[in-house]
């Protein structure tokens, strides 16, 4: 691997929320992220997978500085942006855009879609007048929509089309990184495939970098170059997609991968689905040692006392487990 500077570099990121209990006096501390080190290389598609509540979305929002980390440092193209704020942060934000899961609530129903797409361009002073109109039309064309529709409002479009509009808005300012937070989860299989194609097409045309958040493991396998598996606010395994899918090392990743349904009745009927005992622990009270140990069949004394750190098992694969498979 070359020693290129990562586009994003996060070190020791922790996020703690105070959750007030109803009528309660003592606020609960929820540890959403617990010491995350993560590099995103320029031009790659990095996927974050894990169960709901594992901290995927929180991590993405910390990276694009939508929420502040409680601890840790963050660098963008080698420049420390941990404490960046005000005008300089606003200018920086142009480089990272986000596409959300729900295309219905992420568009203002009272703005025409042309105005919605123009907004980031106006905010960042990237275009005005005729050039602005041109750019909006160009963005609509890039996502496969007719530019003459730019005066219409969101309700006139279907879910798949709205998601395209959100993508057009995200790429309008020529960002470097796009965070897709479950951006395809609300779409039907065939629409989903079309939007997936669009993501891939845009990536090659504009050498974009994607941070792709999804709980759909099948989708991730199709789009991601690297996968990071999260559990209870930590990255427990990360590596090249093929490596992680074909040779998962962490017992939790193994359980995830083996739970993916296979479209083959004969194979499915004879297959044993291993199930995880218990439920994910509460992030306000994570277990001592490895956070997965209460549900792990391989857990030993070490796991109950000492937190395993990410360890390189090969060039393109790291796992945080005392007893990796």
């Amino acid at each position: 691997m070359t020693q290129a500077t990562p586009l994003f570099s996060a070190r020791g990121i922790a996020v703690t929320f105070h959750r007030k209990r109803w009528l309660g006096r003592h606020p609960q501390l929820v540890q959403a992220l617990r010491g995350i080190d993560l590099d995103i290389m320029s031009g790659e598609v990095l996927a974050l997978v894990g169960e709901s509540g594992s901290g995927k979305s929180t991590l993405a929002r910390v990276l694009i500085k939508a929420i502040a980390a409680t601890a840790g440092s963050l660098a963008f193209q080698g420049t420390d942006i941990t404490h960046l704020e005000g005008e300089r942060l606003r200018a920086m934000r142009r480089h990272f855009q986000i596409v959300f899961q729900d295309p219905f609530s992420s568009l203002n129903p009272r703005l025409s879609i042309g105005t919605a797409i123009a907004e980031p361009l106006i905010v960042h002073n990237l275009a005005a007048g005729e050039a602005l109109r041109h750019r909006v039309a160009e963005c609509l064309r890039m996502v496969g929509l007719d530019p003459t529709l730019s005066t219409r409002r969101p309700h006139e479009f279907s879910g798949g089309q709205r998601q395209r509009i959100c993508i057009a808005r995200a790429i309008a300012g020529q960002p470097l990184l796009i965070v897709a937070d479950e951006a395809l989860s609300a779409l039907d299989p065939s629409l989903r495939d079309r939007v997936l194609d669009l993501f891939q097409d845009l990536k090659t045309r504009f050498s974009l970098t994607y941070l792709f958040i999804s709980h759909d493991l099948r989708l991730v396998r199709r789009i991601a170059d690297r996968v990071a598996v999260m559990y209870l606010g930590q990255v427990i395994e990360i590596g090249a997609t093929k490596e992680v899918y074909n040779h998962p090392r962490h017992p939790y990743t193994q359980a995830l991968m083996s739970a993916i349904p296979v479209p083959d009745p004969l194979a499915e009927r004879s297959r044993h689905y291993p199930t995880l005992p218990g439920e994910p622990p509460s992030p306000s009270n994570p277990p001592q040692g490895c956070s997965f140990h209460p549900r792990c069949s391989r857990a030993g004394h070490l796991c109950r006392t000492q937190l395993p750190l990410l360890n390189k098992t090969s060039d393109r694969h790291e796992v945080a487990c005392h007893f990796p498979d």
């Binding site: 169960e51 709901s52 798949g160 039907d188 299989p189 065939s190 629409l191 495939d193 079309r194 194609d197 891939q200 709980h215 493991l217 099948r218 989708l219 396998r221 199709r222 789009i223 997609t241 093929k242 899918y245 359980a255 995830l256 739970a259 993916i260 349904p261 296979v262 479209p263 083959d264 009745p265 004969l266 194979a267 499915e268 009927r269 689905y273 199930t275 995880l276 439920e279 994910p280």
Partner: protein
């Protein structure tokens, strides 16, 4: 759909020519057209389709649970010899929960947030079987254990928000089982759940089907999931049945172009292939009102497909397919 051959018991559920219309300002819009399928006792039927394909409405209509303004008609909608669409409200109350139970996608809205889990599970039992409170609670403990909820006597006193999504869905299944139904309709019960939890719910329902001979209809948009669950698969699109076949046959050789495309898409999911999906390449223009709903996205569509929707015809292998292009080339086909 055929008259049962000698020696075969009649199907538990036999639906033929089911159509559903929604009232709108400009008259009625037909959203489900000519849907036919049968489910034998003890069988697991999978119904797969995208949102808007009419799969949920079809199921709701069988229990007379359609939203206001929706009207269902059918040549036949018979459950165990009774015409479901002709039952009175009172008769239906004896069928819902007692004969046919429903598990919905969203367990949070399916449960009442201000009643304890115990109250909600026992309600059905006390209603259907006039059980005493104590007996019903004992039975509820059994049910919770059966669906894999640890510490059931404690859990009975808790409220829905104290359960995780997977556990709530188990509660819904326990509630559905409380009336000892013969048919369980599960409408996307795992869509909102994580993949490991999904696997557990699938295992649970499969086990119930095997152990207690429960008949199951599993409605989903995920074809791959049905490989595990379904004995038969009905593929719906645009309010119509495109194909209906034994699961092993459908996954081996899908006949309808849409079923084939769905399967290809599911298979791509198993690889790192960045290939373009075949259903994806076609235009998204609206289908002609009288034509085959899949025609605008079908490679094989011709003028006939755009003009008239094909009916379901039975084809060899105890299957049915609604496709002009396919029905013609298959020997031994005949109109249902």
């Amino acid at each position: 759909m055929n008259t049962p051959a000698l020696g075969h018991p009649p199907p538990l559920l036999d639906v033929r020519g089911l159509s559903i219309s929604l009232r709108s300002r400009s008259g009625f819009i037909q959203v489900v057209s000519d849907v036919s399928f049968t489910v034998a006792a003890g069988e697991a039927l999978g119904i797969v389709g995208e949102s808007g394909s009419g799969k949920t409405l079809s199921m709701l209509s069988l229990l007379q649970l359609l939203p206001q303004g929706a009207v269902a008609r059918a040549e036949r909608a018979s459950y165990d010899g009774r015409d479901l669409l002709a039952q009175s409200n009172k008769q239906m109350a004896g069928i819902r929960g007692r004969e046919i139970a429903f598990v919905f996608q969203d367990s949070l809205t399916a449960l009442n947030p201000v009643l304890s889990i115990g109250q909600q599970i026992t309600e059905g039992m006390r209603l259907h079987f006039s059980m005493a409170k104590a007996d019903a609670e004992l039975r509820a403990v059994e049910l919770l254990l059966q669906v894999g909820i640890p510490d059931p006597s404690l859990r009975l006193r808790q409220y829905p928000h104290e359960f995780s999504g997977g556990m709530r869905q188990r509660v819904c299944i326990a509630m559905a089982l409380a009336g000892k139904p013969r048919l369980l309709i599960a409408d996307e019960p795992t869509t909102a759940l994580d993949v490991t939890v999904q696997a557990e719910i699938v295992n649970l329902i499969r086990q119930l089907q095997i152990d207690s001979g429960l008949t199951v209809i599993w409605v989903t948009h995920d074809l791959a999931l049905l490989a595990r669950i379904a004995d038969r698969v009905v593929v719906m699109y645009g309010g119509r049945v495109m194909e209906d076949a034994r699961a092993c046959d459908l996954f081996a050789t899908p006949r309808h172009p849409y079923a084939a495309a769905l399967l290809r898409s599911a298979r791509y999911d198993m690889t790192s292939s960045k290939q373009t999906d075949p259903i994806a390449t076609q235009s998204m223009e609206a289908p002609a009102p009288m034509g085959c709903p899949f025609a605008p996205r079908c490679d094989e569509a011709d003028d006939r497909c755009r003009a008239t929707a094909p009916s379901l015809v039975s084809v060899p292998g105890n299957a049915h397919v609604a496709c002009w292009a396919r029905a013609g080339e298959l020997p031994g086909t005949r109109l249902v």
